[in-house]
């Protein structure tokens, strides 16, 4: 940790008791690229993103084409993962099945993160009764399980893709807001806030130009974690029949359609979608954890 440029030096801190005495400064990217967990996670996510974008062009069968003469066929050279109850090719369906979830989940996450950041900034910055009232509303929303709130609204409005995006985004807003609020509160007492006030800066400037750039790390981590849960929630909604609608090859939907025949031993109709879902959420989560560790250093 020598001088980064002449005249700019980084002082060494006094040995902090019970912690590493000398902190090394490393670039976030460098840490990420050296974390095996992050690399595995990123690899999985990129694989599915690639499938979502290009799989329809190279899969061996049309994922929607049924073949009633060849239903529930076990895996073979022709159908690598077998066929389902109406004879559709499971392999093609799994690869293309990434498409809906990887469109809806990121959009819902983006919506929830943007709204949540705005709400959290307002709560943390203004404090007082603004914080108290919004905080109470958030607590109310969070005292109902997310999936149930989503279910309730989707029953009322009917399951359509834009509705699912909006509902999941809105349901995530209070969670993101809570994280952002906590981050703002730990910034709020720093002197750069009154320092901005003594040059006459307004609330919007302080919130978005002064505070926001300092709380990016927790927001990025929160957004990545939320993406994992968005996939989780949307897959569960599809499984319950309130998310992605047939005939999409979506994984949650595929599992819902086929798990009834699991007991009959037709495991190949369900297992590929199961593994796909699990790998995607775990991949996203490994990325989230890698980011969190890297940004904490």
């Amino acid at each position: 940790m020598s001088a980064t440029a002449e005249g700019i030096e980084t002082p060494e801190g006094e040995a902090a008791p019970a912690g590493p005495a000398i902190r090394a400064e490393r670039s976030t990217l460098g840490i990420l690229l050296r974390s095996p967990a992050f690399l595995i996670g990123a690899g999985i996510v990129l694989f599915w993103a690639f499938c979502a974008a290009f799989a329809p062009a190279f899969v061996p069968y049309d994922p929607l084409a049924d073949d009633l003469l060849n239903t529930l066929a076990p895996p073979s050279a022709e159908h690598w993962f077998g066929t389902d109850q109406i004879g559709r090719d499971v392999f093609s369906r799994v690869l293309v099945g990434a498409r809906d979830i990887l469109t809806i989940a990121p959009l819902a996450t983006l919506l929830g993160t943007a709204l949540g950041t705005a709400v959290g900034l307002v709560m943390g910055y203004f404090g007082g009764w603004v914080d108290a009232i919004i905080g109470r509303l958030i607590e109310v929303l969070l005292s109902l399980p997310l999936i149930i709130v989503a279910l309730m609204v989707l029953v009322a409005l009917g399951p359509a893709t834009p509705t699912v995006i909006i509902v999941v985004g809105l349901v995530f807003t209070p969670l993101v807001a809570r994280t952002v609020r906590a981050a703002v509160l730990s910034e709020r007492h720093l002197d750069y806030v009154p320092a901005a006030a003594v040059r006459g800066e307004g609330a919007l400037h302080v919130m978005f130009v002064e505070i926001l750039p300092n709380i990016w790390p927790p927001i990025i981590v929160e957004a990545t974690v939320r993406l994992g849960y968005a996939i989780f929630t949307i897959a569960s909604l599809s499984f319950l029949g309130f998310g992605v609608q047939p005939p999409s090859p979506d994984w949650g939907l595929a599992i819902a359609e086929n798990y009834g025949v699991l007991v009959g031993g037709f495991w190949w109709t369900v297992v590929p979608a199961t593994v796909a879902t699990a790998s995607l959420v775990v991949g996203v989560n490994l990325v989230a954890e890698g980011l969190q560790r890297a940004l904490a250093e």
């Binding site: 005292s143 399980p145 999936i147 149930i148 279910l151 897959a235």
Partner: protein
């Protein structure tokens, strides 16, 4: 404890009631106002307008929403949860039965996951930075995000289909004893155990690591206390308090996960009830079920807050003030 705790309890109770009231408004809006025309929603677009109007009258949906809300809350306070459209019968007994069943399942879940999660978290913190810590961290983190229906499929495949160790259905035979019931509940409990394990382990790890690094722990070590005393008296006592709050918050999560698990295992709990009501557009049943879940969660957090305050003298003083 004394009067300060009494004051805290009163205030906290007041807040819980306020939350419950707001939840009832949200549920009412979601189940009664949002659908717009419940009669049309139930009967479908092709139904005769007169039939829709008649059904709306039967459901009370032709009255102004405020009036409907007031009479709904009034009935609820009297213990009347309304009439189910699908079953043509009062809602309350269904909800009661389902709640008892779900509580049994939740009980099994927490019985398994709390010792497991807390233990793993504390062990990880004690081995901070070592491979064991990394393994526990990555495992808990990865398990936490696996949707219940995904892990349930895997569990069913292994334990019910291949090994045939555990029954596939969660519904035990009539008149089964508690042990048999437990046997039937283990498989449905596991998917949620897997999800909740990560949260609890992570919180327990963070709390323990923080307490281990604290000045007061160092003071205790420098007093020359044996390691065991330092751990029990100084570290764990302070480390596990935040975990209690997490566990309470997770009951809420568990209740949401029940929708999936109970459906998969065809278990007649509150989650299954809510989902079938949703599918049948049985709005009275739906809102009664959801409100029950909200109330249950509010009670759980209330209890957790009380325990936290009782264990933390500083909060005890602040909360009372």
């Amino acid at each position: 404890m004394g009067p300060a705790f009494g004051r805290f309890l009163l205030r906290r109770l007041g807040l819980s009631l306020l939350t419950l009231w707001l939840v009832s408004v949200v549920v009412f809006l979601g189940a009664q106002v949002l659908p717009g025309d419940p009669g049309r929603a139930i009967l479908g677009p092709l139904a005769d307008q007169r039939a829709v109007a008649a059904l709306n009258k039967e459901l009370g949906a032709d009255r102004p929403p405020v009036e409907v809300y007031v009479s709904w809350v009034g009935d609820m306070l009297k213990g009347d949860m309304g009439q189910s459209y699908a079953y043509r019968a009062p809602v309350a007994p269904f909800v009661g039965d389902a709640l008892v069943k779900s509580l049994k399942l939740v009980g099994v879940i927490f019985l398994i996951v709390v010792p497991l999660g807390v233990g793993a978290g504390v062990i990880a913190a004690l081995n901070a930075g070592r491979p064991l810590d990394r393994i526990i961290s990555v495992a808990s983190l990865s398990l936490t995000v696996i949707p219940e229906f995904v892990s349930a499929i895997a569990l069913i495949l292994v334990f019910a289909v291949i090994l045939r160790w555990l029954p596939l259905s969660a519904t035990w035979p009539e008149g089964a004893g508690p042990l048999t019931q437990l046997q039937y509940l283990i498989l449905p409990a596991l998917p949620l155990v897997i999800v909740l394990f990560g949260y609890i382990a992570r919180m327990a790890r963070a709390g323990t690591a923080e307490a281990l690094a604290s000045d007061y722990t160092r003071t205790a070590v420098l007093k020359g206390l044996p390691w065991r005393t330092v751990m029990t008296r100084h570290v764990l006592r302070n480390a596990l308090v935040p975990t209690i709050t997490v566990i309470a918050a997770q009951t809420g999560y568990a209740l949401g996960g029940l929708v999936v698990v109970e459906t998969l295992f065809r278990y007649q709990g509150i989650g299954n009830l809510v989902l079938s009501a949703a599918k049948a557009k049985d709005f009275a049943m739906l809102q009664a079920g959801i409100l029950t879940i909200g109330a249950f969660f509010i009670v759980a957090t209330l209890i957790a807050d009380c325990i936290t305050v009782m264990l933390n003298p500083r909060l005890r003083a602040e909360m009372g003030g």
